[in-house]
């Protein structure tokens, strides 16, 4: 009867040790298998006790999991501790010559001999049995039981001198090659520790029987069938997997064969790459007339922008590219500063550079702004102090300001501009306006002076900051930088396309957000106005909006006031795009769970605070793909400005077809393909960047 003891480290493999124990009990009976060596009686030398206990058994299973060594935080291991129970058990077994079978569990590998302390190092040389705790458990247990039985059978007639590694006892396996086996063991590194094979024989008796059934070298991995690798395999899988698929492939090949060769011949092989006029392009059989694009390239990019001033456009483009790179590459820090540069500073520089600055801004405009500031200040002060029930000066201020505004509005409609101070005759209404405004301003300031508890201070500060900014801007635009003025009708080509697209994007974003918030507002008038605007604009084609901007806008303005044509188109495009942007943003706002709105209110945020800090950041992140889609369609829509006579990229390309020097049958196709490629690069680039950003910002959940 085989008596088996199981040694294991509790922290390492208690569970699977229990399962193995149960199996062995079922196989050999519960008097044959011992798992937990009984507690050592007091006052007994535990080494001696263990040796005695182990002397009663025939076989020790050493269960080795991943943490059998008992790694400690300081880099050492518990096995290095001479008093470690696991070590003591193995040591005792080795000393008394009990057979040992190392059992590897949890896919653990045999510890290296160098990792083991000297007294138990011999363990590393024993051939282990691996036991899989999962599906393979049954099979592996069969093997373990087989090994135990073989060992018991072998040890019974006193075959303790069987040596595992020598291979001399395993002639039954004809395919067994001692050299190969030696190599296998040397891989495990235990031939390097100075032991000779003979030594191992003392501690590893009777594995010969088992060894016959254990595969020692891995079977070489066969290559996959030739039909499923390489080009052939790929084609079989993707192109010819079924009859239907094969037919589709043939259809596809025919389609490509029909379409692609003519295109390639036209665009490359038969194309005219150099030439100075139509004669080079009208030769029979000629393809694309790229010489036309080459000759007109400057116009396609700059329009009729004066040759000597084109460096200004280039400089603007460089500044723009710098800004976009700073904003678009996630790894570059200082996003806040970059945003200020791109959205606040760059537009001013670009405007001055492209137009030349030096605008004719009258001093009265500035004065009008300051007067407006005074009036608004007085109004705020008056309202605040009245609301705080500090009557007296506040009431006077309020009355004066309301009167002043009434006079101003009244004169506006009666056709008597009240701010006509430049003329000699100061009308009565102007006088009333100035007096009332002045009284209101002074009374208002006095009413809130020294009252830090009143809330109007910040509003007034913000107001004057705004007015100051506008004044400074007007000043900048009025400065003569020595740049020649370039009229917008001279602009053209890609320059106009980009100006329209970028200003449309810049203007439609805030407008769209405002409209989206308005559409979701609780206030009926605001909601209704937003819905009316959005639905009206979305219901009509862009071209009618552009017609409206170009034909009707002059009608709507006072006689004599005239707008730049490009500016009119810009306004049309921006308003049109804002409606679409509003719907995109609204989608994001609706996707934010109500809990976010409620939580924002619960922590005491006001409407604008909660929008700015909680809702909009989340909503805009969700709709980034939608925003970029809007931008892409805006970019494509800019081409429509050619219908109202602005020469954008497409417009200028088309205008050049009529150039008698270049008119040929191939010219239109060439020009359109060139324009299409430019548009395609921009749009495709944007869509790829959008996909990239979407992946980067994806936090893994969507609500």
């Amino acid at each position: 009867m085989t008596r088996i003891a199981i040694s294991y480290r509790r922290q390492d493999s208690a569970a699977i040790a229990g399962r193995i124990f149960d199996r062995l009990v079922a196989r050999y009976g519960d008097h044959s298998v011992f798992m937990d060596v009984e507690s050592i009686p007091f006052g007994v030398d535990f080494r001696a006790h263990l040796e005695e206990e182990l002397g009663k058994v025939d076989l020790l299973l050493v269960i080795i999991g991943n943490d059998w060594l008992g790694a400690r935080a300081d880099g050492g291991s518990r096995l290095r501790n001479p008093a470690d129970p696991t070590r003591l058990e193995v040591e005792a077994a080795l000393k008394t010559g009990v057979s040992i079978i190392p059992v590897l569990v949890d896919s653990a590998s045999m510890p290296d001999a160098t990792a083991l302390p000297e007294p138990v190092a011999a363990l590393a040389r024993l051939n282990p049995v691996a036991i899989d705790g999962g599906d393979g458990f049954e099979n592996d247990m069969e093997r373990l039981v087989g090994a135990i039985d073989a060992l018991a059978g072998a040890s019974a007639p006193g075959a303790a001198d069987a040596v595992v590694e020598t291979g001399s006892d395993v002639p039954a396996d004809p395919g067994f090659d001692p050299a190969e086996e030696a190599e296998y063991f040397s891989h495990r590194g235990d031939r390097d520790d100075g032991h000779t094979p003979g030594e191992a024989a003392e501690v590893e008796p009777g594995f010969a029987g088992t060894m016959m059934y254990v595969r020692r070298e891995e079977e070489p991995v066969l290559p996959p069938p030739r039909s499923s690798v390489g080009a052939v395999g790929w084609a079989r899988q993707n192109l010819f997997s079924s009859v239907g698929n094969t037919i589709l492939t043939i259809v596809g090949i025919v389609l490509i064969a029909l379409i692609l060769p003519p295109i390639i011949r036209w665009a490359f092989i038969d194309a005219v790459w150099v030439g100075d006029g139509r004669e080079d392009c009208v030769v029979p059989g000629a393809g694309a007339c790229w010489a036309f694009v080459e000759a007109k390239f400057g116009q396609f990019i700059y329009g009729r922008y004066p040759l000597g001033e084109r460096w200004r456009v280039d400089l603007t483009a460089i500044l723009l590219i710098i800004g976009i790179v700073l904003m678009a590459v996630p790894r570059i820090p200082y996003k806040r500063e970059s945003a200020i540069y791109l959205f606040a500073i760059f537009p001013i520089i670009a405007l001055v550079l492209l137009t030349g600055g030096n605008f004719d801004i009258s001093i009265w405009t500035v004065i009008a702004f300051i007067v407006l500031g005074c009036l608004l200040t007085a109004l705020v002060a008056a309202v605040v102090s009245n609301a705080a029930r500090s009557l007296g000066r506040g009431t006077i201020a309020l009355a004066a300001v309301v009167l002043a505004i009434a006079v101003w509005v009244g004169t506006l409609f009666l056709g008597n501009p009240a701010l006509n101070v430049g003329s000699v005759a100061v009308s009565l209404s102007t006088l009333v306006f100035i007096i009332c405004g002045g009284v209101g301003f002074i009374a208002g300031l006095m009413a809130i002076a020294g009252r830090s508890d009143l809330p109007g201070g910040r509003a007034i500060l913000g107001l004057w900051l705004g007015i100051g900014t506008v004044t400074v801007l007007l000043g900048i635009f009025a400065i003569d930088f020595g740049l020649t003025h370039v009229e917008t009708p001279l602009w053209g080509g890609l320059l106009v396309t980009l100006v329209v697209a970028l200003s449309g994007m810049g203007a439609s974003m805030p407008l769209g957000i405002a409209l989206a918030l308005g559409r979701r507002s609780q206030l009926p008038v605001i909601r209704f106005a937003s819905i009316a605007f959005i639905e009206f604009v979305r219901g009509v084609p862009l071209i009618t909006v552009l017609f409206m901007a170009s034909v009707m806008l002059p009608l709507f303005l006072p006689p004599g006031v005239n707008f730049d044509k490009l500016l009119r188109a810009l306004i049309g495009v921006a308003l049109f795009e804002a409606a679409y942007m509003a719907e995109v943003v609204r989608g994001g706002l609706q996707a934010i769970p109500a809990g976010q709105y409620e939580a924002a209110r619960a922590v005491g945020l006001k409407y604008w605070q909660s929008m700015r800090l909680i809702i909009l950041p989340q909503a805009l992140k969700i709709v980034i793909p939608g925003i970029v889609n809007s931008f892409i369609s805006l970019f494509k829509d800019t081409s429509l400005v050619l219908i109202i006579g602005i020469f954008d990229l497409l417009g200028i390309v088309q205008a050049n077809f009529t150039d008698s020097n270049w008119a040929s049958p191939a010219t239109p196709a060439t020009g359109y393909v060139f324009a299409a490629v430019i548009f395609w690069i921009f749009c495709f680039g944007m869509s790829r960047y959008s996909i990239y950003t979407e992946r980067r910002l994806d936090t893994g959940y969507r609500n």
Binding site: S241, T249, F413, P455, P541, T544, L555, P559, K636
Partner: protein
């Protein structure tokens, strides 16, 4: 402080916090009143300016001009129209032309888009690749550019009528446009049309009966094939019995031009081609997204219930994909109809080109012409929106 005496209940937060300034209702009312007043003043100002400007230009506002003689010809018209007709009739001609190109464009774009969308999902690498290249190429190029390309770079450089490219069944393509054979009805053809009508009514009836029977007994009836057979066979039988009262008129070259057949102008071809090819790319993406949106478990469950792949597609996948596909699809249809206004660039006489173009320039009635044009598009889109809301409510998933 005196103020605190006046508002003793305000406690530590100070008097100002209790003022009307912080009452959300008051604030809301004030803001709304300001907005309303602002809007009224703005529109008053705009209208006042417009009135003044029109007076200066000596243009009488109002819609009376609609009834005066138009005096210009329109190259394509679905109803009879001469230059002696009124502006109002020109408006109708333009509107019908817009609807014609819109309707045909929607049909073509849907066919092409569904094909491309399904192809892009194909497991066949080549087909998926071709579809992807098509979608990514044409989606990222402005539709106006595409229209102009077809019109000026492809159709305009086709050979003249004498060297026209012959197409199957007697049609041909030249720089004058596309010429197709066209059936001309002879007396007695109305019987065939009647038969078709009867067949349709019968098919619908069979469908309703089959559905009722299946609900009652569980036994299916091939209503679709029966209906299709009825609709195809009955008119053909009647057509043959009545002695085939239909002749085909083929286009023939006489002199420098073609006579007979159906003449489709190059402007129309370019517009239809450009709009369909462009819109189809978006439809392809919508169809693809819709099919991908149906969870895999749905088809697996259908297979587990014993449905074969045909019924699985028809009864499980498509109905669910449709829920996702239809709303954006309608948007694309609307876009196509709105984009048909680009006809003005290629000279096809659609609503915008006729009314907001020629009529506006002749009469100077900018406000009326543009407003009427916008109103038409607005009506189409609002009607569609209302339909979409109704449809969404019908198909929306009702969850708990």
């Amino acid at each position: 402080m005196a103020i605190q005496d006046m508002a003793p209940e305000s406690g530590v937060r100070g008097p100002v916090r209790n003022s009307l300034l912080y009452d959300p209702k008051v604030r809301g009312v004030v803001v709304q009143v300001l907005l309303a007043v602002g809007l009224v003043v703005f529109f008053w100002w705009v209208i006042d300016n417009a009135r003044e400007n029109l007076e200066r230009a000596n243009i009488a506002s109002g819609f009376d001009f609609l009834w005066s003689r138009a005096g210009f010809a329109i190259s394509q018209s679905l109803i009879s129209y001469t230059s002696d007709d009124s502006y109002a009739r020109a408006f109708v001609v333009g509107l019908l032309n817009t609807l014609l190109v819109g309707l045909l464009g929607v049909v073509l774009a849907t066919i092409l888009g569904v094909l491309a969308g399904v192809a892009r999902l194909s497991r066949n690498w080549l087909i998926a690749g071709i579809a992807a290249v098509y979608v990514e190429t044409f989606r990222n190029v402005p539709v106006l550019l595409q229209l102009l390309f077809w019109y000026k770079a492809v159709l305009a450089v086709l050979p003249g009528p004498r060297q026209a490219i012959a197409l199957p069944v007697g049609s041909n393509l030249s720089n004058r446009g596309l010429l197709l054979p066209w059936p001309i009805a002879e007396p007695g053809f109305s019987d065939t049309l009647m038969a078709l009508l009867v067949a349709i009514v019968l098919a619908v009836g069979v469908g309703i009966w089959a559905r009722r029977r299946q609900l009652a007994t569980g036994r299916p009836f091939p209503a679709f094939w029966t209906g299709l057979g009825l609709i195809i066979l009955l008119p053909i039988v009647v057509f043959l019995v009545t002695g085939a009262p239909l002749t085909l008129s083929y286009p023939e070259l006489k002199g420098f031009n073609f006579v007979g057949g159906l003449h489709i102008q190059p402007e129309f071809v370019a517009l239809l081609l450009g709009l369909s090819i462009y819109t189809a790319t978006f439809i392809a993406e919508i169809v693809r997204a819709g099919i991908l949106a149906v969870a895999r478990g749905q088809s697996e469950a259908a297979h587990a219930l014993g449905l074969r792949s045909g019924p699985t597609l028809r009864l499980v996948i498509i109905p669910q994909a449709m829920r996702v596909i239809i709303p954006p699809l309608t948007n694309q249809y609307l876009n196509l109809i709105k984009n048909s206004s680009l006809a003005v660039a290629v000279g096809y006489p659609d609503l915008v080109s006729v009314f907001a173009g020629t009529v506006l320039n002749q009469t100077g009635q900018a406000v009326e012409a543009i407003l009427l044009t916008m109103l038409v598009y607005l009506t189409i889109s609002i009607a569609t929106s209302l339909f979409m809301n109704w449809f969404n409510n019908r198909v929306a998933l009702v969850e708990r």
